[in-house]
Symmetry: C2
Subunit: 268 residues, 2 copies
């Protein structure tokens, strides 16, 4: 087990080595500690925001009960000179204090921390590099997208699952590289996880759009057409899907006409 | 009871009538409804902020547990190629999404509402006018500051208490008018309420500062000195209090020397 983990890790590192920047585990380890620091700073921001919001809520609750009482009997309420004075004071001074509290900026500490650390962050290229290393690993070990996504890699210690968004991201990186084979594998995996009920900000239509195109580019017109129909069930007005539907149907008809003609010629 | 409320209310209105703008109960009633609307808008802002903060907290919690696991065994963690890919993706894309969430401005609806309504708000002059009307009412009815602050006005329906800040505000308005008699009454009331344990943003030193000066201006040097000593117990380095201490002691000495000399002359 330990040996296979070591081999995998070694393989991954060598697959990954074409990448200029984050080649060493040491550099990536630094990033883990950077992230830990950022989380600490973020938690401090959350604490300040909760505190600020608590004060705003106290004011809102106080004013809510006050205005409810006051508007039930405005004349009676304002007949009390202290109420009249307090109303003047509230509107002239206190709402301005509340406004300052609403506009108070507590983001400064965290945001400047993030800005400083960002210069050491990986770039789009690093992200793409890591994704492609993962795709090469998949091919080398002949692993299914499902196996990788579930984290069932042989011998790894820290099992890590991929989300719908992670799978979608891998699919998109393959797509940008015109690698429709991996696009299909990973968009299909994203779709499966969505259908199994995983919550995600990525929707089925977006995934089906990539998936049907990747399948079409691999020459499987009928499957592409079927997926396009699924898209249109979810969104009947989808512009590209409506266009593709006509195009795929036209192409399929052309194909079957050509086949029929070919058969006719052969039969003669 | 109802009659006395009516009379009080009428008196208050006539006392108050010198003020140009908020002379009618009708105009003040409109302000109550404005305030009610603002509270509604504020509650919507709170709802949005709570929602936003909840998302930030979910991210922080997720990352907190993730970075704790990761930094326990960085090599093992990063040996898993999916972890390495996810780290790249997180740093390159997801922290930026979190940054947008942190910087998301939810204040817009409430603040523009407040800005629109502010043009109808009472001014400093209106607030001062209402305060002075209250002071005249106090004199007319010979009411103690305590009676008014507790809302124990004869016959009023909506009993309304004054906070330390309200009493302090009344005292300050009297002070600005060089009305040291009412300054003393209301600063003393503010101090009493603080000493009874009421929570306030106004501190004892600030109140004692006004109070001792108002008492000094009414010629009661010894009481002014005593209050200045109380101030210095709370803040031994208070600049003005230290100056006043010397000055009051010097004045008191001058007084007693003068009296002694006068007595000597009389005795001769």
């Amino acid at each position: 087990m330990a040996l296979s983990w070591f081999l995998l890790s070694f393989l991954f590192r060598s697959l990954y080595a074409h990448n200029d920047f984050f080649t060493s585990i040491g550099q990536m380890t630094d990033l883990l500690y950077t992230e830990k620091d950022l989380v600490k700073s973020l938690k401090e921001y959350i604490r300040q925001e909760e505190n600020r919001l608590e004060q705003v809520k106290e004011w809102a609750d106080k004013l809510d009960s006050l205005t409810n009482t006051a508007t039930e009997d405005p004349e009676g309420f304002l007949g009390h000179p202290v109420n009249a004075f307090k109303l003047m004071k509230r509107l002239n001074s206190e709402w301005a204090d509340l406004e300052s509290l609403v506009l108070k900026d507590t983001t400064n500490g965290f945001i400047s921390n993030l800005t400083v650390q960002r210069q050491f962050f990986p770039t789009d290229e690093d992200q793409t590099g890591a994704a492609k290393a993962l795709l090469r690993l998949q091919d080398t070990y002949r692993l299914s997208a499902n196996t990788i996504s579930n984290g069932d890699l042989p011998g790894v210690v820290h099992k890590s699952r991929m989300t719908v968004a992670d799978c979608y991201e891998l699919g998109k990186i393959a797509y940008t590289d015109a690698d429709y084979y991996h696009t299909e594998l990973w968009m299909a995996q994203a779709l499966t996880q969505l259908e199994e009920g995983e919550e995600s900000t990525i929707d089925k239509i977006t995934i089906l759009d990539y998936l049907s195109y990747a399948i079409y580019k691999q020459g499987q017109l009928e499957r592409a057409l079927e997926l396009t129909k699924r898209m249109l069930k979810l969104d009947p007005d989808h512009h590209r899907a409506n266009g593709n539907l006509k195009y795929f149907e036209f192409q399929l008809e052309k194909q079957s006409t050509a086949e029929a003609e070919k058969k006719e010629v052969e039969d003669k």
